[in-house]
């Protein structure tokens, strides 16, 4: 820091106050929703809940994990698609990135251009939808995985990282008779763990947060519903008219709880995994992003 030794000035105090303000507007909504999710639903309707529940209850959470099969199933489906989507996405993007990092690869240019072009042109909503229909992926679990398998942005970040690995390592392995695939799994992947962690975070967050694919492609199959989609449905209903919140969620209504409070509990459940993961990967994604931005 270029101004470490100087005395504290009014400027420093204003800075700290400003940052406290930023912290409050960022965190207050989450704390408020947490408090509402832990408060009796009937009591919540009276208003005035801030960051502490007034009539403490777990009813909204037991509703999700106990009495309501569909919400529990949605939670498990979100988990499943996140795990499968992250693993397949990681394998795909690191493998492709490795072939692109090999300057001697005969098809390096062709594959590279094919990939980068996708950042500038896309078919659009309707052609994508027709493709999914023709592939028979409507109401199929794989609609969560296949269309999101690769993103050019992620591949480029991984490739930039691989470019910084000394080529001598690969060459010595080659002299020892290792083939390209062995070099990839034994040498490259272990060295790329920081960038793999970053991309794993991006992929997992993308999968966990996804709702539109459920809405567009899988809403007719109750078994494929996800937490984000259920939340979106409650949001949609409550947003249009406060009186008509029960449609589609009639099963949810119980004495202790209502869709409004369950909405808050789902929000907390959907936020928690993210909160538990991203702070620990911060160092990696900050460098990963900066590296990617500089290269592209």
């Amino acid at each position: 820091m270029h101004n470490k030794k100087k005395k504290w000035t009014l400027f420093d105090i204003v800075l700290v106050l400003f940052m406290v303000f930023v912290l409050v507007i960022t965190l207050y909504p989450f704390l408020n929703i947490l408090a509402i999710s832990l408060n009796n639903a009937v009591d919540t309707a009276k208003g005035g809940i801030h960051i502490w529940p007034r009539e403490f209850t777990f009813a909204n959470y037991t509703e999700i994990f106990g009495s309501n099969d569909r919400l529990l199933q949605a939670f498990l489906m979100s988990l499943l698609r996140t795990v499968v989507g992250t693993i397949t996405g990681l394998i795909a993007s690191t493998m492709l990135a490795y072939t692109l990092s090999r300057k001697d690869f005969v098809f390096n240019k062709v594959v590279g251009i094919l990939l980068v072009m996708t950042m500038f042109i896309s078919g659009g909503l309707i052609p994508d939808y027709m493709l999914i229909r023709h592939l028979g992926l409507i109401n199929n679990f794989w609609v969560y995985i296949l269309p999101m398998l690769l993103s050019a942005f992620n591949v480029i970040i991984i490739r930039s990282f691989m470019d910084n690995i000394p080529k001598a390592l690969e060459e010595s392995a080659k002299i020892d008779g290792a083939n390209d695939f062995t070099i990839f799994t034994r040498i490259i992947v272990p060295l790329c763990l920081p960038v793999i962690a970053t991309i794993a975070l991006f992929l997992a967050v993308g999968q966990w947060n996804s709702w539109f694919d459920t809405y567009l492609y899988a809403r007719a199959n109750e078994n494929l519903t996800t937490l984000q989609y259920e939340l979106m449905k409650i949001l949609d209903n409550s947003n249009i008219s406060a009186g008509d919140i029960t449609s589609g969620n009639a099963k949810v209504i119980a004495d202790q709880t209502n869709p409004q409070s369950i909405k808050m509990a789902i929000t907390i459940i959907a936020t928690l995994p993210i909160l538990l993961v991203y702070p620990f990967l911060q160092k990696y994604f900050v460098t990963g992003l900066t590296l990617g931005a500089v290269k592209s």
Binding site: K4, L96, G124, L125, L135
Partner: protein, 336 residues
């Protein structure tokens, strides 16, 4: 000359993609290794080819075939027939599109919210990065930065829930405004079409400022500390140092990011608008993607919806090219 090289290697029909370097090399010194022929290289790199092949096929199916689907825009596409077994109507759908008042409303909303998001998103990220960069308490700085990423990682479903909860009749914003006596009646934020663009912009700033500041902070970390020392000797205040040293130092980064976002002005997506919108504010929430979704899929007008998508892609490519040329002209280097 290239021909003889092929013959030497005994593969007269092999395409010779490394022809030029070999020729140049031959003039100086006799060919050493090149230089296995194409097919030999292919054979040696079987593993690499097998590692990329599935994903090349994926790219073709999921990224390029949909672009081929653009022909639907020139047909009266009916899903029960094959893609080329359709009635061709030339530019009819584009003419329909340009005659549709709704389309201009969607365009206006898209560009309006796009520009607001770009301007306020950029300004807020730069200000946040500048101020965070000046913060002295390092642990507090780190904590603030970590917290500032949180909204970026939650979905827009959660983001929309938060915005709607905070802005509701008995939400914290209305309570606060009534508490300090600015208003007597709660404001129905979500039921006022005139406020919709503003709400989307504020929600965007709330969600993405911390994340967008990452790159600016990284650029600020690279500023030469001697510049600040010199400024201090000259008696420049901290604010003047920010203005005269930090900001000019990150200027190239700001310009590159601005140019990239201008190219994406029309690709603002539809998530925020779809999740925050409702029947009352629909006229201000309708963006191009929602329009394509409602008409294209909702009303089964696939060809019309595809035409909307093509229009969007063309505008987006034109914007990117203009911005790239502009970047070259002002000498900040091309973006790609």
């Amino acid at each position: 000359m290239g021909k003889s090289v092929r013959e030497v290697r005994g593969q007269p029909n092999a395409p010779l993609i490394t022809e030029r370097p070999i020729d140049n090399g031959e003039l100086k010194k006799p060919p050493k290794l090149p230089k296995k022929g194409f097919w030999k290289q292919v054979k040696n790199q079987k593993a690499l080819i097998l590692m990329s092949l599935p994903f090349v096929i994926w790219l073709i199916i999921f990224k390029y075939i949909p672009v081929g689907g653009w022909v639907m825009a020139f047909q009266n596409y009916k899903p029960q027939n094959g893609l080329f077994d359709q009635e061709w109507v030339a530019l009819k759908h584009f003419k329909d599109l340009f005659n549709e008042p709704m389309f201009y409303r969607a365009l206006e909303n898209t560009l309006g919210m796009g520009i607001l998001g770009l301007v306020f998103g950029t300004i807020s990220a730069i200000i946040f990065a500048l101020l965070l960069n000046e913060l002295r308490l390092l642990h507090f700085k780190k904590f603030t930065q970590t917290v500032s990423y949180l909204p970026h990682f939650v979905s827009w479903v959660i983001g929309a829930n938060i915005v709607i909860t905070m802005l509701s009749q008995d939400g914290v914003i209305n309570n606060l405004l009534m508490g300090i006596g600015i208003i007597n009646e709660p404001i129905g934020f979500m039921a006022n079409p005139d406020m919709f663009w503003g709400i989307v912009t504020v929600a965007d700033v709330w969600k993405e400022t911390g994340w967008n500041a990452i790159i600016y902070l990284a650029a600020m970390a690279g500023v030469d500390p001697q510049l600040y020392e010199a400024a201090k000797v000259d008696g420049a205040s901290r604010i003047r140092q920010m203005w005269h040293i930090t900001l000019p130092s990150i200027r190239p980064v700001i310009i590159v990011l601005l140019i990239l976002s201008i190219g994406n002005l029309i690709n603002i997506g539809f998530e925020k608008q779809m999740l925050l919108g409702n029947n009352i504010v629909a006229e201000k929430a309708l963006v191009i993607d929602l329009y394509a979704l409602d008409y294209g899929i909702g009303m089964f007008r696939y060809s019309f919806g595809t035409a909307i998508g093509i229009f969007k892609s063309v505008i987006s490519i034109i914007l990117i090219i203009i911005c790239n040329q502009f970047a070259k002209r002002i000498g900040e280097g091309r973006v790609f």
